[in-house]
């Protein structure tokens, strides 16, 4: 087990390093350099040179990468090119908005998916299971923005129940904010649900077919007791792993949902920054998204390894 765990941790560190190189390199080859972009077309050659020197753009790329990484780790991504504000100041409110939306979605999606998965697994191939599984087949074929448009068309435009655009969430009134964020939340929940339900169902059915469950059944334990006391605790590792994977996935889905509903989160900041070629902001936001994704994925695998009884070190 320790070997597998180590291997997975090394992989995570390698991926994080590769990510940082990629983020730096990709923004390096953006057309034009930062100094020219900052000073505009009317800048003289001398002033561009001076700024390049001040920003250390005249240094070789590996040195600039090391400098950038050292600062980035401390949360210092430099100044935004379009608004002259520290990137970290720009990020914080956006990050908060994104996290709150993700949390809202997770708080609804995780219990719902677990419940649907457990009920499907308790009575497999009965009407409830069939209904849920055919619904998930359709949901899984739909990208977030398609779900978003369908929901917005009916719930916002046709029946006017919820707003279709959220320019500014009203955090001082939590009930209003929850209502405002309902459509983006529902979109994310529907996008996440299918995969989580199917995995929960498969995992629980898998544990239900194991010998110790048969043993419990023969002892005369009730179905409820078997599922809640025997199957669920043993399925918790894979289920946690599925949840972590989907949270990682939530982090890319959120970009599209934020654009669809004009929600002022990190994802929309990233897309806007790409359009305005605001390189420090692009670097910072992609770095945050990538790190979150890599860590959650690593966490998912570690859950599988640590909580798998078969990989536990043998006692005695």
């Amino acid at each position: 087990m320790t070997g597998m765990l180590l291997r997975r941790l090394v992989l995570a560190v390698l991926t994080l390093l590769a990510t940082s190189v990629l983020v730096f390199a990709a923004t390096e080859i953006l057309p034009g350099d930062v100094a020219e972009a900052m000073l505009g077309q009317l800048a003289t050659k001398e002033s561009v040179e001076a700024l390049r020197e001040r920003l250390h753009l005249d240094r070789p790329a590996p040195e600039r990468y090391a400098r950038w990484l050292a600062h980035a780790v401390e949360g210092d991504f430099g100044k935004s090119l379009t608004s002259e504000v520290e990137v970290s100041q720009l990020l914080l409110p956006r990050l908060r908005n994104t996290l709150l939306l993700a949390l809202y979605a997770a708080a609804v999606a995780v219990p719902l998916a677990m419940a649907l998965g457990l009920f499907s697994a308790a009575w497999p191939y009965r009407w409830f299971d069939r209904l849920v599984s055919s619904a998930t087949v359709f949901l899984v074929s739909m990208p977030e923005f398609v779900i978003a448009i369908i929901l917005a068309s009916f719930l916002a435009v046709e029946w006017k129940l919820f707003p279709a655009v959220i320019y500014r969430p009203q955090w001082d009134r939590i009930d209003r904010a929850l209502l405002q964020m309902f459509l983006p939340m529902l979109t994310l929940v529907l996008a996440l649900l299918a995969h989580m339900v199917r995995m929960t169902r498969a995992t629980v059915i898998d544990t239900l077919s194991s010998p110790y469950v048969e043993m419990a059944l023969l002892k005369g334990a009730s179905k409820r007791r078997i599922i809640l006391r025997h199957a669920l605790p043993n399925a918790i590792g894979p289920i946690l792993s599925v949840i972590a994977l989907n949270m990682g996935y939530l982090f890319s889905g959120v970009v599209i949902v934020e654009v669809a509903f004009s929600y002022p989160g990190l994802g929309r900041l990233l897309i806007d920054a790409i359009f305005y070629r605001d390189i420090p902001v692009v670097q910072a936001t992609t770095a945050i998204f990538c790190v979150a994704y890599v860590l959650l994925n690593a966490f998912a695998d570690i859950c599988l390894i640590v909580l798998n009884p078969r990989l536990r070190p043998q006692a005695g």
Partner: protein, 285 residues
């Protein structure tokens, strides 16, 4: 982006096409016809301004967009871009991934381990961020998009083809060929590849759906197909404003087109994966 799930398997003896697969096939056929005939069958020129902004009238099936162009014509004309990009990306992903995966499965040893690590690292990148970085660095055009999505698909295809090829390579008839002294290239080409085709075909279907959803997502974000051209994803983006004005057909129709086509392909893939292939044991599919 939505990940396709592994399709379930039912009774492997049924060879006849079922109702769901027939519906899927019909929808895919309609999409292909629209893609091939495209601009020549639309009622209005897709780029021409023929009405007033968001005009609703009987003459425009889905209304007009913000500039007054016919949304229905743009939708039909956009089919080709959506399908060509997705198909191109999936083929590229398979050329790179399947070749790589099968070769390392045959070679085994050090190269196989190294390749597995490489694939693991590549798979730990969030695909959307990877494509956003590449597309924003190289500016978006059809070739960059195909290359980017193909690159994202390649490690996923490599993993599946390696697993399938490993299973086949361990089977007695391959051992027999090897014992006969056949060269590795012949083993790969004549024994392993033909028996990998069925599962790879299923994987191709799943990857194609993924590509369609991915390119639509990028276009929706404004980083895919660039105006004045439009695929289905860009059409959703272009017509988001219609929702604010209070009409939704213009944004809903391209979104539904994406959903319906991807469900249709999934239905076909589901049916295909239930067809058993004689040489492969069930558990490898």
């Amino acid at each position: 982006m939505t990940r396709p799930l592994a399709a379930g398997r039912g009774d492997p003896t049924t060879r006849r096409i079922d109702a769901a697969a027939a519906v899927g096939a019909a929808i895919v056929a309609i999409a292909v016809i629209a893609a091939v005939l495209g601009p020549s069958i639309v009622p209005y020129a897709p780029r021409q301004i023929v009405g007033t902004p968001y005009q609703q009238s009987n003459q425009f099936l889905l209304g007009a967009d913000v500039l007054g162009r016919d949304v229905f014509s743009r939708l039909i004309a956009g089919t080709r871009l959506t399908l060509v990009t997705a198909l191109g990306a999936t083929c590229l992903g398979f050329l790179l991934g399947a070749g790589f995966g099968m070769i390392v499965a045959m070679v085994r040893g050090f190269w196989d381990d190294a390749a597995t690590w490489l694939v693991d690292v590549l798979l730990s990148f969030p695909p959307l961020m990877l494509s956003l970085l590449i597309v924003s660095a190289l500016s978006s055009n059809l070739y960059v998009l195909i290359a980017t999505i193909g690159l994202i698909q390649a490690p996923r295809v490599a993993r599946v083809s390696r697993t399938v090829a490993l299973g086949i390579a361990a089977m007695p008839f391959v051992e027999a060929s090897r014992a006969r002294g056949e060269r590795a290239i012949s083993l790969l080409w004549r024994d392993v590849l033909p028996n990998c085709l069925q599962p790879l075909f299923v994987e191709f279907g799943l990857r194609l759906t993924y590509s369609i959803l991915f390119i639509s997502g990028l276009s929706f974000l404004g980083l895919g197909i660039q105006p004045p051209d439009a695929d289905w994803g860009s059409l959703v983006r272009e017509n988001l404003g219609a929702l604010v004005v209070g009409t939704y057909a213009a944004a809903l129709a391209p979104a539904l087109a994406i959903a319906v086509l991807s469900v249709a392909i999934n239905l076909l893939v589901d049916w295909m994966s239930r067809q058993s292939s004689p040489a492969i044991p069930e558990e490898l599919l």
